[in-house]
């Protein structure tokens, strides 16, 4: 369809300036730290020769704009430099850590959606009745608990007091799948509980909007049962804004859940960034910020591109 392809093209084009500005900001963030960039990048233990060669490499004698272009060129080739702490290339290091964060986040958000959508729909359908009041109260409460604290409490109860689940650490799924599951249960449940609150409230609010519209009345006037009215006419329309919300949540979390990873001592992307900040490992800091922003932009792009499935009107205007 013409309108659809136009919408897709427009949306794709719009991300380019955003990504460019993101790159500029990440680049200058490190440049704004007082001190010699080469020294910052190589760390305190670097020899004068190494420093000189990196200076030449970065083009530090060149204007800042040129330096940015050198850097951007490297980034586009996938070269994000070497970690100061252990000399490893930044990109593989990040991808490795990203797997851990992504596993937990994807499972948690998927579960949260599965709970939140029906809960929000039922709450909206029974607006102001007991079920609704209970659902709203529960989700508001969940929304108000900080994840790191909830994690700590669950850890205390299920890990330490009851001893049902391992307390800290991570085992890759590829090695021992069953053991791996026991390690991710607590972080996944923590994250899921937090996000269920936000998504349920969102779903409820948009379902209430939809339930007021005449086409819902029309569906009832056709003789459809309440179940079919809700599933066919309310759900798809009410899900559209929730879908955008899921994108925002997912995009935000995929970049790492630093605090939760700290609570459960998981080797995730967020923890990598925090450790790099403490270690003044600037190439890693730069890489993580860039990668996170990229993930966020891509996730939201995908979400927007799927949006016409729920609301065909967006391709119109």
């Amino acid at each position: 369809m013409h309108a659809l392809s136009k919408y897709v093209a427009k949306r794709l084009l719009w991300t380019l300036p955003t990504l460019l500005i993101v790159a500029v900001m990440v680049f200058f963030l490190v440049r704004m730290i007082p001190g010699d960039p080469a020294q910052l990048i190589l760390g305190d233990s670097a020899s004068p020769d190494e420093l000189a060669s990196l200076r030449a490499n970065l083009g530090l004698d060149q204007p800042v704009a040129m330096q940015f272009l050198y850097w951007l060129g490297n980034v586009l080739r996938g070269d994000l430099g070497l970690s100061i702490s252990n000399g490893a290339p930044v990109l593989p290091l990040m991808l490795d850590r990203f797997q851990v964060s992504a596993t937990i986040v994807l499972i948690a958000v998927a579960l949260a959606t599965l709970i939140a959508v029906p809960a929000g729909l039922v709450a909206a359908w029974r607006q102001n009745e007991h079920v609704d009041v209970a659902i709203v109260a529960a989700s508001t409460l969940l929304m108000s608990v900080p994840s790191f604290w909830l994690g700590l409490v669950l850890l205390l109860v299920f890990g330490l007091k009851l001893g049902w689940l391992p307390v800290v650490g991570y085992v890759p799924f590829t090695e021992k799948p069953w053991t791996a599951i026991t390690y991710v249960i607590l972080p996944v449940v923590t994250l899921m509980l937090i996000e269920v609150g936000v998504l349920t409230r969102m779903m409820r609010a948009s379902a209430i909007e939809i339930l007021r519209l005449e086409y819902v009345m029309h569906a009832r006037a056709k003789g459809l049962s309440e179940r079919k009215v809700l599933l066919r006419h309310v759900l798809p329309n009410a899900f559209a804004p929730t879908w955008t919300m899921i994108g925002l949540v997912l995009g935000g979390l995929l970049g790492g859940i630093a605090v939760l990873e700290t609570v459960f001592t998981l080797p995730g992307l967020g923890r990598l960034l925090v450790d790099a900040i403490f270690a003044r490992d600037y190439p890693v800091v730069q890489g993580c910020l860039l990668f996170t922003a990229l993930i966020y932009v891509i996730v939201n792009l995908i979400v927007d591109l799927c949006y016409p499935l729920f609301d065909p009107r967006v391709t119109a205007s």
Binding site: K6, A9, K10, L13, W14, L213, E214, Y215, M217, H218, A219, R220, A221, K222, G223, L224, S225, R232, H233, P236, N237, A240, F310, D311, P312, R313, A316, S317
Partner: protein, 535 residues
């Protein structure tokens, strides 16, 4: 015709409906619809007519409940049916068409899916057979290219087309009764007629009875056989249409009838004079939603219009939606950039006017908006709204200002309401505020952009009468924009008919109403609901 005629199809008896906190909405209302007839339920907003109609299908919101009375459909009480029984009646036996074509179809489902859904719910049909039936029905409601329509989404159609699709969706099941709740109120005159004609034609073919809910007695006179008049939840008058409309017993019914458009020859046209304001070959383009990466194609909304308004003259601009009449009005106030032509105010071209002349033009020309709900700042009190234009006039003391405001509020019939906020006023009252704001500075020229089309018929008449009185007292020239030839005939000296950005016909009120030349004018005139006897 058949044995069933003895018993009405729908028989509502002593229906009492209240809100959950006991506030009554309907007081023991009774009405009935005989098989094969069109019956009208008439009343203004707040009369309870919509509640009565929805009660017949048990589609009331949770907070509103019937407390006593019966709703007999083919002898069975709808109020006593179980959930599954009522669902068998809904759609299959009683169909319903709603007022707002923009929100009455599900935006996320194709037209085909929505049409097939209802059909397959009540009849055992394969998807293919159901689609074939749906396609055939779309053709009957005059949707061009029905196959493509089935695959399309509602947002791809105009209001009038959506309303016909809606009608097709409901009539697919050949219900015995069709409840049409203000089915054409949101549409312009020509589209309104199209939809009504299709509806009457279809229901006649299928032998479906119609309960028409409306505030427009013109429609009733034209289409209905029997009428019930509701006022604030009470049934005040009923009977055959001829009888009720010709010999109304109740004062309220008479008010409704009086509100219908009527010819009025009372106006003396102002003397020949040089035009106060003149459009010369005015063109306005709209560039659609452009953005960083694409420039949308440009659309000419007004395509070279020349029109002069003499001091004290009221010129009506009439046309359907998309005719460019609103754009022309805005352009004559200098609110839109012209892509061609010029506006002359007091003989001076405004394109090359100096600052003082431009300022004078801006202050001498005022506008009354269509929607009284959005044209008043919700955070200002009425007196502030009405008094605000005085800031730019000659310096006045606080006392003089307050006097001017209270004078004008008195003149528009809102004395003592200056301390209220807009949300505390009714639609008609708000429109009076908007009119007061426009005339407080004694402007030379006022554009009134569909000032009454958002109001009930009786309120329309009051506001039109007020507008006419103010025009006579203050003597401003006026461009009166409307889609309704009926409303225009009350206030105008001259009528200009626009279609697709061009003036297709112009002349005195008498010329246009009695001897319309252009086919578009003739169509408009024919579509205008009147009582027939009034002219």
């Amino acid at each position: 015709m058949n044995a069933e005629t003895s018993r009405p199809l729908l028989d509502v008896r002593d229906l009492r409906v209240t809100t959950s906190n006991g506030h009554p909405i309907l007081h023991d209302v009774s009405f009935d619809v005989e098989a094969g007839s069109i019956v009208a339920l008439v009343g203004e907003s707040g009369s309870g007519k919509t509640v009565a109609a929805r009660a017949a299908m048990r589609l009331l919101p949770k907070a509103i409940t019937p407390v006593s009375g019966k709703i007999l459909f083919e002898g069975n009480d709808v109020l006593k049916m179980t959930g599954s029984e009522i669902r068998k009646v809904r759609g299959a036996e009683i169909g319903m068409v709603f007022q707002e074509p923009m929100v009455s179809l599900n935006p996320a489902m194709t037209i085909g899916a929505q049409l097939v859904e209802g059909l397959r719910l009540h009849e055992k049909l394969s998807v293919e057979a159901a689609r074939a039936r749906a396609s055939e029905m779309l053709e009957r409601v005059k949707i061009p290219n029905p196959e493509a329509c089935l695959a399309a989404f509602p947002h791809q159609f105009s209001g009038g087309m959506r309303q016909r699709i809606m009608l097709a969706s409901v009539m697919l099941l050949r219900p015995k009764l069709l409840i049409a709740d203000e089915p054409t109120t949101a549409l312009d005159t020509l589209t309104q007629r199209e939809v009504m004609e299709v509806m009457v034609d279809l229901t006649r073919t299928f032998g479906t009875s119609v309960l028409l809910i409306t505030h427009n007695l013109g429609l009733v006179a034209q289409y209905a056989k029997k009428v019930f008049v509701l006022e604030r939840g009470r049934l005040i008058e009923s009977g055959p249409v001829e009888e009720v409309l010709h010999r109304p017993k109740e004062q309220y019914t008479r008010t409704l009838i009086d509100a219908l458009p009527k010819r009025d020859h009372g106006r003396v046209p102002p003397a020949e004079a040089a035009p106060l304001i003149e459009a010369r070959g005015v063109e306005v383009t709209f560039s659609g939603a452009g953005n960083m990466f694409s420039t949308a194609e440009k659309k000419l909304a007004v395509r070279g219009v020349s029109l002069g308004v003499r001091p004290g003259e009221v010129v009506a601009v009439v046309g359907g939606s998309g005719s460019g009449k609103t754009t022309l009005g805005r352009a004559m106030l200098g609110l839109l950039p012209l892509s061609g032509g010029d506006i002359l105010f007091r003989g001076r071209p405004m394109a090359s006017a100096d600052r003082a002349a431009a300022r004078d033009y801006r202050l001498q020309c005022q506008l009354v908006f269509q929607d009284p709900y959005s044209s008043l700042d919700p955070r200002q009190k009425i007196a502030e709204i009405v008094g605000e234009p005085l800031i730019h006039g000659p310096k006045l003391s606080g006392r003089e200002k307050a006097e001017r405001v209270s004078d004008i509020l008195g003149e528009v019939g809102l004395a003592g309401l200056g301390d209220r906020y807009p949300h505390a006023l009714s639609g008609g009252q708000r429109q009076r505020v908007a009119i007061a704001r426009a005339v407080i500075r004694n402007p030379a020229f006022v554009v009134a952009d569909e000032p009454v089309s958002a109001l009930d018929m009786t309120i329309q008449k009051q506001v039109l009468d007020l507008f006419r009185k103010l025009q006579e007292n203050h003597g401003f020239a006026c461009l009166f924009i409307s889609h309704d030839l009926g409303a225009v005939s009350r206030v105008a000296d001259r009528i200009v008919v626009m279609q697709q950005g061009l003036i297709v016909e112009e002349g005195s009120v008498g010329q246009i109403l009695d001897h319309p030349q252009h086919p578009y004018t003739q169509a408009l005139l024919e579509a205008t609901p009147t009582l027939g006897l009034a002219a």
